[in-house]
């Protein structure tokens, strides 16, 4: 069931990867491969992280419109980062090992996310519109607090934070690649092992409980994995508002199933395809100067509107 489609997606993804690596090379292929290889790896990691996080979040919230980014996960990450710079000061902050910093950030964020969003999921899971609105407004608030902190610090400190606050697929931070890959793969493996539990959780808290799957524990575990995945992707490229939504919508379009054994790898592949293919098309085919994130946000916003209106009329 749908395995053929997964294989097809994999093949398309490979084709995009090959196109990205080998087209338009001027000069030494070896150098280009080394340079592009890192970026490619970053793009694939981000794609897998965002896609899987979005699908998991939609499962535990029982809502196909929610994504971690819409609920302000990445805003939380940037806020923690800015707060760290303000508290420590830029010199002390920059002397810290970036890998360690990312780990600490990811830990803090997981704690905050589980506390905050876990509470939200429990309190208002029944009223989906209220929850969505809360998430959107919460994201605005987190961004405003971050904005305030960033204005309060001086310019040299600001430069440290700035890198994390804007999405840029073409200039992913490749220094942290090794650690990010390890974290991300670890989280992805755990997510994969949760796939059957996610299937059960998707039935809703009542059915899950009667099937012997405590929903609260599952939610918490999933939220933990989601915040690690989002933290990694935000550390690499910065916040991307509608990307997760675009990917999950495409995933459910291509793979109309409820089985996470299919959905999770499908989402990762589609996200990789969109990112690598999109980056390739923008860079080499159209020679656009526009960042991919702007295009993705635009398309994702449209998809969101369509889903909202369609979901209402159904």
């Amino acid at each position: 069931m749908y395995h053929n489609r997964l294989l097809l997606l994999g093949a398309l993804c490979l084709a995009a990867v090959a196109a990205y690596l080998f087209t338009g090379v001027k000069g030494s292929l070896e150098f280009a491969l080394m340079f592009r290889g890192k970026k490619l790896l970053a793009l694939l990691l981000i794609g897998a992280a965002q896609g899987v996080a979005a699908v998991m979040f939609q499962t535990i919230s029982g809502n196909r419109l929610l994504t971690p980014a819409l609920m302000g996960f990445d805003a939380l990450y940037v806020l923690i980062l800015s707060a760290a710079v303000v508290v420590l000061g830029a010199p002390a902050y920059q002397q810290l090992d970036p890998g360690l910093l990312m780990l600490v950030n990811a830990t803090l964020m997981s704690g905050a996310a589980v506390a905050l969003f876990g509470l939200l999921l429990r309190k208002s899971a029944a009223d989906m519109m209220r929850m969505l609105l809360t998430g959107v407004v919460l994201a605005v608030m987190l961004r405003s607090i971050t904005g305030l902190l960033q204005r309060v610090i001086d310019p040299s400190e600001y430069a440290v934070v700035q890198a994390a606050s804007y999405a840029r697929f073409s200039r992913a931070e490749t220094d942290l690649l090794g650690l990010s890959a390890a974290l991300c793969l670890g989280a992805l493996v755990l997510a994969w092992r949760m796939r059957h539990r996610l299937d059960v959780l998707a039935l809703g808290p009542v059915a899950a409980t009667s099937l012997g799957e405590p929903p609260l524990r599952g939610q918490r575990g999933a939220l933990l994995l989601i915040s690690i995945l989002v933290a990694v992707s935000t550390a690499l490229v910065g916040p991307v508002a509608f990307f997760g939504l675009l990917v999950s919508a495409l995933t459910y379009l291509v793979l109309p199933t409820h089985r996470h054994a299919i959905l999770l790898p499908g989402a990762a592949l589609i996200a990789g395809l969109v990112l690598v293919g999109g980056q390739w098309a923008l860079e080499r085919v159209f020679a656009f100067a526009t960042p991919l994130s702007v295009v993705v946000d635009f398309l994702g916003g449209l998809v969101f509107l369509l889903l909202l209106l369609k979901g209402v009329n159904r």
């Binding site: 009223d127 519109m129 209220r130 969505l132 609105l133 809360t134 959107v136 407004v137 919460l138 605005v140 608030m141 961004r143 405003s144 607090i145 904005g147 305030l148 204005r151 309060v152 508002a241 509608f242 100067a289 526009t290 960042p291 702007v294 295009v295 946000d297 635009f298 916003g301 449209l302 969101f304 509107l305 909202l308 209106l309 209402v312 009329n313």
Partner: protein
């Protein structure tokens, strides 16, 4: 003392206080020197007026939009009107760079009007039993228009302009550079003349028609007020979110929905909120300042969440 008088007193205090806050130190004792007067005339007084005018006008625009949409959770800045104004302004700067400032403003307001017409065209199709869907659609609709503007600005290297329009702040307000806000304030004040008609709008189309209201005409005039206020505010000081959302809600909780009574209160409360936020924005990193939109983003979002979850649950 009655509530309006109390509000007016508070507003006056804030207004006078704001004259003495800024990078250049100024205490009341200095007032006798010519320099101090020049400072007040050229910078402090225009700034205070700009803050009061935009706060009051935005609050009124928000109130009218909520009545037309019959939904307490919408406001122009987040529902596409502000973003449309930016997009229109961007297109005007691109296509007719030499146009007079008045023409630019008019076209920005026109774009804002088209944007709000589009918003209402979408919301009319939403089911009435899902009131929270309307603001959500508005936010995303605004986001899509905004990202179109970002795309165009990126292509023609005007991203910096857009940044200025997107985060409202008053630091650049001087004599000669804010006067258009009087027009926004004037338009908002004019809406008081048709306050009764707007109140009836809030009862819905069927009731309005039944009461003999020219529904379309009143809606259209409301949209014009919203668009002019939003367009002019975006152009002169940039977008200020949440004022049009939070203030009308808080005021209607105290004073009810009869605009003839509540509209002056709404205007005063809007002005006071922006004024207080602006004073805070100037003090928090004195002698520098943070954009007022950032401060209001925090306060407004907190108030909004409180409205959503706190005592205000009955409104949704």
């Amino acid at each position: 003392m009655s509530r309006p008088a109390l509000g007016l007193l508070l507003l006056c205090l804030l207004f006078v206080g704001s004259l003495f806050v800024g990078a250049t130190p100024l205490v009341p004792a200095d007032l006798l020197t010519a320099e101090a007067w020049a400072l007040i005339r050229d910078s402090r007084l225009p700034r205070a007026f700009a803050v009061v005018l935009s706060g009051a006008a935005l609050a009124i625009a928000g109130q009218i939009m909520q009545l037309i949409a019959r939904n307490r959770f919408v406001e122009p800045m987040t529902a596409g009107t502000g973003q449309s104004a930016m997009l229109g302004l961007l297109l005007v700067s691109l296509l007719m760079p030499g146009a007079e400032i008045g023409v630019k403003m008019a076209l920005a307001a026109l774009a804002a009007l088209l944007g709000s017409l589009g918003f209402f065209a979408i919301t009319r199709r939403l089911p009435p039993q899902e009131p929270l869907l309307v603001p959500l659609v508005g936010i995303v609709y605004g986001g899509v228009i905004g990202s179109t503007a970002v795309y165009i600005a990126f292509q023609i290297d005007l991203l910096q302009y857009l940044d200025i329009w997107m985060t409202g702040e008053f630091s650049g307000t001087m004599r000669g550079r804010y006067e258009l806000l009087w027009v926004a304030g004037g338009v908002a004040a004019l809406s008081y003349l048709v306050a009764d008609q707007f109140s009836i709008l809030g009862l819905g189309e069927a009731v309005s028609l039944n009461l003999g209201l020219n529904y379309r005409q009143v809606v259209l005039s409301g949209l014009v007020v919203i668009s002019v206020v939003t367009g002019l505010t975006v152009v002169t000081v940039g977008a200020i979110p949440f004022v049009g959302l939070v203030v009308p809600n808080l005021v209607s909780r105290i004073a009810g929905d009869n605009l003839r009574r509540s509209l002056p209160l709404t205007a005063m409360a809007g002005a006071a909120l922006v004024l207080a936020s602006d004073i805070f924005a100037r003090l928090v990193v004195h002698p520098f300042e943070v954009p007022v939109a950032t401060v209001i983003g925090m306060i407004g979002a907190a108030l909004f969440l409180w409205m959503l979850y706190g005592r205000g649950q009955h409104v949704s």
